[in-house]
């Protein structure tokens, strides 16, 4: 149980542009929902988004924003909650670090295949998912204690298969 008074949220959109999520994160309802749950710090990784919010955008919260870093592993480690777009890389990185994950699906994408993964992982109780319009409600209602650990994938099975297939063994 985290007894620290610093509860921080890390928001990531990977290599994409997801202006709606960044705008939602700085909206009054979402800021209020976060403050009510005891969060004090928010870090926004905005990727190719068209704007980078300035640190004053979330009154009541300490805000930091940047576009890209070589590695977000440290941000993930320091966070108590991760809010991510539904990209597989971002999800796997957050789940791999054992952090509670809330995925926000971008319903403006062409064929929204990302929602399939979010649905499956929510069904398996590894994360929660929502859209930008339901973000503040989800933040209010979510129960992170229901989440179960996510076991890493096993690329070594792929390697064994391929070694046989190419005739190495």
């Amino acid at each position: 149980m985290n007894t620290s008074t610093m509860n921080s949220v890390f928001v990531t959109v990977g290599s994409t542009c997801f202006d709606d999520l960044i705008a939602s994160m700085t909206s009054d309802e979402v800021v209020k929902a976060l403050v009510d749950r005891g969060y004090t710090d928010v870090v926004l990784q905005v990727g190719r988004g068209s704007f980078v919010p300035d640190p004053q955008s979330c009154p009541g919260l300490r805000l930091e924003a940047f576009r890209f870093k070589e590695s977000i592993a440290e941000n993930i480690q320091l966070a108590d909650l991760i809010i991510s777009h539904a990209g597989a890389g971002s999800c796997l990185e957050a789940l791999g670090a054992g952090k509670p994950l809330l995925v926000v699906v971008n319903d403006k994408l062409m064929d929204n295949h990302q929602v399939e993964l979010a649905k499956q992982l929510q069904a398996d109780s590894h994360l929660l998912y929502c859209t930008c319009s339901t973000l503040s409600q989800t933040l209010r209602d979510m129960d992170l204690s229901t989440l179960r650990p996510f076991l890493r994938g096993q690329p070594q099975k792929f390697a064994s298969f391929m070694d046989k297939a190419v005739g190495l063994v």
Binding site: H113, Q114, E116, P155, M162, A165, V166
Partner: protein, 218 residues
């Protein structure tokens, strides 16, 4: 006179297409004879798409032994981040003073996110013009890809190598972990041509029985 020439040309074109199709079927059936590992090393052409595609392909490449060398990574010309990820990964593999056994190449992007389907066909054909000379020069033993549009012209070029009798290349496709119930567009196309088509969720294996399911591999 010109009508009979016309019919002659039409028959010629039809015959050529028929031969190409028959060659394609023959080449696709020959997977069990294709064992490039028996010579001691496997040259891999790795297609790295943007964002998560690159992350997933690097996880797969991490698991493969040093026997899979040289490694030729191909990325889209507008991709700024994949090259850095690839170089970081490859430099972590280097032991001592052994020279890096990899190269990075760029081809025109087949399709941007949200690009219309019709213009995507044109841009894919344009990418094919670059893919064919590249693949014909590299002559890989195996192509590894996981779904970005970039893989279509590259896989088409390797199929062409086989059809022309120049080299039989193993086509390995790993559908992204994002795909739980439906295949990506690249997956739907390459399902019919890949030698090994991996899916990472059981429902897909049921829907696509020729696919390989060995659990989550990234």
């Amino acid at each position: 006179m010109s009508l009979s020439v016309f019919y002659g040309v039409l028959c010629g074109v039809f015959l050529a297409l028929l031969i190409l199709v028959l060659r394609l079927v023959t080449v696709l059936r020959a997977v069990t004879d294709c064992k490039p590992g028996k010579k001691g090393s496997v040259c891999v052409l790795v297609v790295a798409g943007s964002g998560g595609h690159t992350t997933e392909i690097i996880r797969l490449m991490e698991s493969l032994s040093q026997v899979y060398t040289p490694r030729h990574y191909v990325i889209a010309d507008t991709d700024k981040m994949s090259e850095d990820k690839i170089r970081a990964f490859e430099s972590s593999k280097v032991k001592g003073d052994s020279p890096a056994q990899f190269t990075v190449h760029r081809i025109p992007r087949s399709r941007e996110v949200r690009q219309s389907w019709s213009s995507s066909v044109l841009s894919t054909l344009y990418a094919l013009l670059y893919s064919v000379p590249l693949v014909f020069r590299l002559r890989p033993d195996m192509v590894l890809c996981n779904g970005p549009g970039t893989c279509i012209p590259l896989c088409a070029a390797t199929l062409l190598l086989g059809i022309l009798g120049l080299k039989r290349v193993l086509l390995v496709y790993v559908e992204s972990i994002c795909r739980v119930e439906s295949l990506s567009l690249s997956g739907k196309i390459l399902y019919h041509f890949a030698d090994y088509f991996f899916v990472q969720w059981q429902p897909l294996q049921t829907r696509y029985p020729k696919s390989v399911y060995i659990g989550r591999i990234v």
